[in-house]
């Protein structure tokens, strides 16, 4: 079975650019529809963390240091 990944977000640094969204191989990242962060952006969220494989593609593409990735 693939390794289970864990993603953590530093929400208030997110500018909602979605670069992480398009590189996620599992398509489980999405921008919050309602929530806004301290800068007024809709920040990133994870829809189904169970599917995360911990590849860190999202964190590698994040220009703002929002994302940390761990595996169990």
């Amino acid at each position: 079975m693939a390794k289970k990944g864990i993603v953590k977000f530093d929400i208030d640094k997110c500018k909602g650019c979605e670069l992480c969204v398009v590189v996620c191989p599992k398509h489980i990242l999405k921008i919050h529809e309602h929530d806004v962060n301290i800068m007024g952006y809709h920040p990133i969220s994870v829809s189904d963390e169970e599917q995360c494989i911990g590849c860190a593609n999202c964190a590698v593409m994040c220009p703002d240091g929002v994302i940390s990735v761990y595996t169990e």
């Binding site: 990944g5 864990i6 670069l19 220009p63 595996t71």
Partner: protein
């Protein structure tokens, strides 16, 4: 729990002023990761340009010196003479390096200066609001070329990596891109090689980083990544243009 990725302590814990999706943030981070992995963060001096990354000294956790527009290489050359043991880099945009600073970079390479230049090519002047750069592509719209760049008026886009690779003192020249995770990882590997060359004092090392400017390209950040891949990479091919082995 095993850590796969955490934001590098080479970046100061602040929010950058860059627009959403601007790849300057990625270039900054991998540069700092490289310095940490090489154990040279504490003895590095960076030279900031004029351009959007003018405030990079507020973001990068290294000692930095500002420079006049395009004159980063001249400042770095001075630092190298005053402090011969330091690791030194310049971080420059395409307006800064390929336009007003074209003379400085050519002669830094020509003298074989022992520092590394990170050249962030986003094919436009970002900070000043989207004017045409020497690297702007044919047909690409800018505020000073509203119908798109025309060859008859502005010439063909300047390929700085190829130009510098003709100079003997430039011992390491590579072009990379930041449009995919694989390319970002490759860009980081290129920076490792460039700093290794500097540490061995073999000569000038140069990494051109193809980047996006979603705001001035008028594209959403994710579409800008695709625009880079579809338009910039064909004209600015990726790869190593020069290594020490080719330098006699």
């Amino acid at each position: 729990m095993k850590t796969v990725f955490e934001y590098t302590r080479g970046m100061l814990p602040v929010t950058t002023g860059y627009c959403p999706g601007c790849t300057h943030g990625i270039a900054h981070r991998i540069l700092m990761e490289v310095l940490i992995e090489r154990g040279t963060l504490g003895e590095t001096i960076g030279v900031a340009p004029i351009g959007c990354s003018i405030l990079s000294h507020n973001y990068l956790n290294v000692d930095m010196c500002e420079s006049a527009h395009g004159r980063g290489p001249a400042v770095a050359a001075g630092i190298r003479r005053a402090l011969p043991d330091k690791t030194i880099f310049t971080y420059q945009g395409d307006g800064d390096l390929a336009s007003i600073g074209a003379g400085e970079i050519v002669h830094a390479a020509h003298r074989g200066e022992k520092f590394t230049t990170i050249f962030v090519n986003n094919a436009i002047y970002g900070m000043t609001g989207g004017q045409m750069a020497p690297t702007t592509l044919i047909g690409q719209k800018s505020t000073t070329g509203v119908d798109g760049r025309k060859k008859e008026v502005s010439g063909m886009p300047l390929r700085m990596a190829e130009l510098l690779a003709t100079i003997d003192g430039a011992v390491y020249v590579e072009r990379v891109a930041l449009d995919t995770p694989a390319h970002v990882r490759g860009a980081k590997a290129a920076m490792h090689r460039a700093f290794e060359i500097q540490e061995k004092r073999l000569g000038f090392s140069f990494v051109e980083v193809l980047s996006t400017c979603p705001t001035n390209w008028g594209l959403p950040p994710t579409a800008a990544l695709k625009w880079l891949a579809d338009n910039m990479i064909p004209y600015f091919p990726l790869g190593i243009l020069r290594t020490p082995g080719e330098v006699k």
